[in-house]
Structure formats: C-alpha cells, structure tokens
Amino acid sequence: MVETTELKVKIGLEVHCQLTNLKSKLFCSCSSDYRQSPPNTHVCPVCMGTPGSLPVLNRKAVEDAILIALALNMQISNKTIFYRKNYFYPDMPKNFQISQYDRAGGIPIAKNGSKKLEVEKIVHISRLQIEEDPGKISYEGTIETSKSAFVDYNRAGIALVEIVTEPDINSPKEARIFLQKIRSIMEHLGVSSGELEGSMRCDANISIQGGTRVEVKNISSFKEVERALNFEITRQKNLLRTGHRIGQETRHWDEARRVTISLRVKEEEEDYRYFPEADLVPLSISEEEIERQKNSMPELPEGHMQRLMTQYDISRQNAMTLIDNKALAEFFEESAVNYSHPDLLGNWIVGDLLSYLYEMDIELKDAKLMPRDLVKMLELIDDGTISGKIGKELLKEMLISGKSPDEIINQKEMRRISDSEYLNQLTEEIFSSNPQAVKDAIKDPKAVRFLIGQLMKKTGGKADPQLANNLVNEKLKTSKT
C-alpha cells in the first residue's frame, strides 16, 4: 500500500501551436485558412503526399519560430535540419511527419529556454521545433463505434511549433497557468491566435512519485488540460493506492467522455525511426537574422502589464488577468481611452465581463460587445440613469444581442424610476397591504428595509434607491401620527 495523498506529481508538456498568422501551409502554398472550408479543398500534391511531390519551407514560419524562441529566452541554433518522424496513421498523408525532433540528437530550431509562472516558479523549456500538422479525422458516432473514419486533409501541412517543457510542472493548475502564459505570448507576438478552434493543443507526460511516465495525447484545447490532467492523476493515484503498478504507456484523452483511454498494446510499442529529411536542405540562422527579429519584436506580456499599470493606474492583479488574453487587454485599452475611470473599467472587465464569457463558454471575439457600448453603460451608471445591478444585467444582454445600452434600456424599460409621484403611489399600496410590517417599522428602524425592499421589487429593482428610501421614511413619519 502506498500513501498517495502527498505524492509529488511531475508534468511535462508538449504544446502544439498553429502559426495561424501564416497565409499558406508549412511546405506548400495551399491556403492555411481552412476552418470554414469543405473537406479536402485546401489540398495539393505536396500536402496530400502524392507520389513525386516535394516540400518547400515557408520562410515566415521560420521567422515566427525565431520570434517565439526569443520571447521564451531560448538559445537559437545556428544550424538545424529537418527530420522525419515515421509512423502510420490515417491522418498522416505521407505516413511520416516532417519535424525537427530527433531522439538521436538532432538539433531543433531553439533550445534551453524558460518561462516564469509566478514569483518563484520557473518552467524550463527544452526545445522548440517547427513541424507540420496532420489532417483531421471524424467519425459516425464515436471513435470506437464508427464503422469507417472520415479524413479531411485541409489541416494537413499547417505550420506548427511544438514547445517541449521539462517536467517542472507540479499540478494541473500550474499547467493551465503555463499554457495561458504561452497563449498570451503567442498572441502578443501575433503568430498564433488561441481563439481559433484547435489552434493550440497539447500532449502531457505525467509521472507520480513511485510510478512510471505516462503520456496523454490529444488534449485538443487548453481548456481541457486541467481536466485531463486531474483525471489522469486521480487514475494513477488510485492505481498506486490499490497496490497496482503504473506501466509506461500512451493514453488518449477522450474529450466527450472525459476519460483517458489506452490505445496501444505493449508489443506494438511505436518506434518513430527519426532520420534526416533529405528533401529539405539545412536551415542556417545568422546572427543578423536573429538581430532583425529582435528589432521587430512587439510588446510582450510582461511589458504590456507594466504599461497597463502605469498608463491606466489599474491593479497588478487586473493587469495580469488582462494580458493573459490579449484580446481582452486590447478591449480594455480601446475602452479606456474614452472613459474617465479606467480602474473601474478594469474591475468590470476582469470581473463581470470575464465571468459572463466563461459562463457562456465563448471567446470575446464571439461576443457582440463593442468597447464604446461598455463605456456608455458605465456612464449610465455614473450619471444615475441605471443602478449597478441593472448594469450587470445590461452587460449580459449586450454580450448576447450586441445592441447598444440605450436600445436595451428602452426596450426592457430598465431606466431607473425617479418619478416620485409614481413611486409615492406604489408606497401607498405597500403600506395599506402590509399593516403589520408598517407597525414593526415604526418600532424598529431596522424593519424599514423590508418596506423599501417591497418597493424595489414592485419596480423590478429600477426605483431610484435614494428616492425610495426617502419616500418610505417620510410615509412612516406620517403613519406614526
């Protein structure tokens, strides 16, 4: 029996990011804008592995990789070659993947980098490599029940970078934070947009003290990572707790059922037979090229965070959250230029806006909110037209419908009621139908709140709270006498 609660967990990640800013694929000139296209429309002899075709490297992919390497404090190799990773699978047009990985000692485009997570936590990055994406397989039903598999090679050959970390990550939460940082860096560099479906995926190596390394593949989005890792750690701990051994294996994250499953039996252990790709010539990266990329380096997350804090006087915590999602930070800045209280604005975006997006499970770009509308809403609160509470409802509505605050207020009659004649009339009604509550309120000032609450309820929360308070208290005074 092994005591499992305190066992140390070590996680290494292999992060695949599509270079979504590229217009063409990694080794052919097929358009990389495939997401909305019918299956097998963005294919040519090269990315379909048609006999006789040859790859030609996309220059921009190399420039992007250099930028990423610099941002991750990596050592850029001055000479590197491409390798073939050989394995059969229906999503692989050539049944080998052109990559830079090589267990036999090949050199990736960059190595030995690091990323600081929090104050004391550093994740070391062992390598960065350029490689091609496989195609996409779909099923009728599930992978296990489908009588056939259906392959779309539109994605085959899309440029990826793979970022391989050391097993420095100790919890699923740390893994999520790390991936958020990576996504933020990619977005700040302008090389990859994490908002696009499937643009960032990862494989994880997990080992628990006293166990063996298990690889979990097919984690198809960063959102899934924490979930997949939690499942796998619990599974492994349970095995250890019940006295079982953990065998070295490769497992597959089944997103639909939220479990990891083993797809390979032992005697069929894959041997990738990495060897150099002779169809591509070596890549030689000069100091001048690195210098050129350094000079074109855009603002990175850390710098962006510092600037947000000084320029807008927002809290460190808010700035940190904003830069984790570059689109959100940009939205903040676009709004802030037209609003006099950026600190308040920051609270709204990091607080309510973000949690609504999370609730609705959408990205900011999919929401229909415009910066000027958010500003308008805040101004309506500031001038007393609506309450803060109504503001929250309004924001939700704006996210869904994309309508301007005025439009929604008019439509839903959300405007604050400050018509004292109307409110007075409602107060009369409340007093006559709640005689006991009136008596209580006369004796105990604390019980007044009930009557005010009734008034707010009748107006759907729209009564001007100050006015409601005055009216009820005044009425009480006259009721005493």
């Binding site: 592995g49 050989n86 060897f275 010539v281």
Partner: protein, 486 residues
Amino acid sequence: MSRILELSASELVSKIRTQEITAEEYVNKCYERIKEVEDRIHAFITLTENIALEKAQEIDSRIRRNEKVGTLSGIAVAIKDNICINDVRTTCASKMLENFIPPYDATVIQRLKSQDAILIGKTNMDEFAMGTSTEHSQFGPTHNPHDLDRVPGGSSGGSAASVAALETTISLGSDTGGSVRCPASFCGIVGMKPTYGLISRYGLIAYANSLEQISPIARNVADLALLTECIAGQDNKDSTSIDSGTQNLKNCLVDDVSGVKIGVPEELFGIGTDEVVSKAVWEAISKLEGLGATFSKIKLESLEYALASYYIIAMSEASSNLARYDGLRYGLRLDDENYDWSTAYSRNRDVGFGAEVKRRIMLGTFALSAGYYNEYYLKAQRVRTLIRQELSKAFKDFDLIIGPTMPILPFRLGEKLLDPLEMYMCDVDTVIANLAGIPAISVPCSSSQGLPIGVQMMAPALREDVLIKVAFSLEQHLKPDLELKV
C-alpha cells in the same frame, strides 16, 4: 524498319523544322517500330499514342505557319514509369500504382513539353526502381535488344531498351545507384547520372531521395547533351535543386582530350570483375591516352565500402518514402469492410508490393529502428562522408575517374533473381557517384560475343562538361561491334 528512326535527335529536329519530314510521320514510324518489336522487348508499360500524335500534328502545323518551336521539336522521348505525367497512368511497375493517374506534371515533363518534345510512352522498370535487371517489374521483364534472353539492366531497363531498339530516339530514366548507367551499358548506349540537384526531382516518385536523379539516355553523346540541357536547372519546387551555372554542354562536343588527367582506381576492377570487361575498359583508357590524355592508377580505399553504405541508406530512405502507399489517397485498396485501419494497410501493402520492394522496406525499417540506427544508418552515412572526402581529394589531381560501368556482361533472365545479394553486387561500381552526388556517364566502349560493354567516367560535381567532352571523343574513336536482335 525506317531509316528515320536511326537518325539522331539533332538531325531529326532540323529535318522536322525544314519540313523534310513531318513530326507526325516520324512519330508514326516510332509506333510502327514499337508494334513490331514490343512483344519481344517489352520496354513499355503504357503507350501514349493519341497524345503523341496530337502533339506531333500541332508542332507540324506551327512549323508550317512559321511559328517558333522548341529545341526538341517533334522528338520522341520515352519516360520511365516513375516520372509523373499529368493525367497519364504512372505505375512504378507496381501493382500498388497500377491505376494511379498523377494529378500533375513532373518539372522535367513540363520542360520537355515546353521544348515541344513528344512523350511517346511510359517505360518498364524494376518495381519502384529497386533492381538491376528490370526483372522486378510487376508487368513482366524487359529483354535486351542485343540478346533477347538477357536482361537489359535496370532499373531503367525499359528506357534504355526502347532507345537501343530504335522504338524512340531518346529517353529519361532515374539513377539511384546506377539505374541509368547499368542499362545504358547493357544495351550499348549512353546514359548519364547528373550531379545531385542538377535536374529537379519534382515529380519523380521517390525510392531513395538523397541519392537519385532523373537521368538522360540517348544513342549518342550529342543527343544526351541536348536532352540534359533541356531539362537541367534550378526549380522552385525542389529545394535540393541547384543552379547549373554556366555549363554549356553543346560546346563540349569537340574531339579533343589533350591534357585531360585521368585517375583509374584499382578498386573499380575488384574481385568479380569480368576479364573481358577489364580488358575493354583498359583499351578505352589507352585510346584516350593515345589521344593526348594522361592517366595514373590510384587507390581509393573507401570505395570497398560503398556498396554496403549505399544499400543501407537507400533501403532506409525507401522504407520511409514508400510508407505513403496505404490505399487511402491513391493506389491499390482492397476491400477493407471488416478490418481496422492498421490491418487494412498491411493487407494493401502485402498485395500491392512485390517481394524485392518488401525486402528493402523491411531492411530499411530495421536499419532505422531503435538500437540499430547508429550501427547501420548513421554508420553508412559516415562512411558516405569518407567516400566523398576521398573522391574530392582525388579530384584535386584528376579531371576524371574511369572504370567499368558494370563488372559483368548482361546476364541471363532469371540468372540472379533468386539471390538478392548477388544482384546487389552488380551495382558495386555505380553506387559511388550517387553517394557522392557527383556526375557519372556510361559510354559504350566494346563488346564481347555481341554483348555491349560500357566504360564509366565520373567527374566532380557540376562538371558534366568534362564528361560530355571525353565521352564525345571516345564515341568518335570506339565503334563497338553491336547488332540488334529485333
């Protein structure tokens, strides 16, 4: 048989341009000849008669209208069946690709088309270019036009035999370890493997991609030079293609070898070299000496290891290059209703590939596999470096290296089929040029009992001009006694 078919490409071009004969007339003669001899030679897998005649008529009408025509206007070119022609079946002599119709043209095909060459048909070969005799074709072997019981050499046996048998004027093959020089030698014609990168590989179905080059075949050196110039040159679709620089091969067609320095490595005359072959090659060397060249015997010790190094590298690359044939996107696909993908793949590949292809894939898979990679694949690539270094050292002192193309005379069909290793040994003198990426040419130099013997010359990278010049001289002074049996 028509005299037209014996004319050289340059003679034909001028006769067609001056309308002394029409391209159509000539192409028809080619097909008549093909129909006459194919049942005995079997050089072709697919004939493209309709396309060829249509193109011939188009060229004729352009000539009649005084319009510009290309440097190969009207010339019939046979194409090895591992070079893709858009919309024309390309099989690699394999069941796997029996019905494969490429959706694009190889770069060399584009260039031939733009120079108004006429693509006459696709020629027989060892399956996926793996062989030295063309007996490994899944469509049956090709026969040597000088002795129908003997092999034409391989793997470009069909390309060489069709040129030798006057079914076409020139042809393209591919040379991975001697696949053009061997059949050129066995069929008594000229074949040259150019410098790696001189001719775009785009559209050449890969067997061993770090070694192979599309290579020209002709009955004389001038035609070979003409064809080479037409297809050579950098291509954006092939990252390994290089700019041929200022080589002008036509200017090298002069009978002058004075001052040419020749190295003769004794390793090229090793055990297993037929006495008559050695004798013929030495006679050719003496002839060159008589014409003003100088020669020295040299030692190149690493050449002894070339064959093993070559086969390990070629098989390793083949195991990966041929992985794409799984039946999904093109090629042979058996009914797989009841099988999972992995089993289905294994069945398609079992039925689609012949024995030699499977053997090489298995050996290549082994050489790259965990635990053996260093001892086999990497070791072979290190030996390759030593061979390159030794050769480039030799080329500091010599313009050329000379030896036999093949150590033996054309052998009988079936003679070596049961012993793969014995078949591999035939490539012992040719693989060197592929390992080093340097150009090498085979020129007919003699014959023995009516069987052709070829001499091989190798030059430093991008010195095809030297090869063409010396080959041209040899051609003027050596006239092997050969006779077609068809």
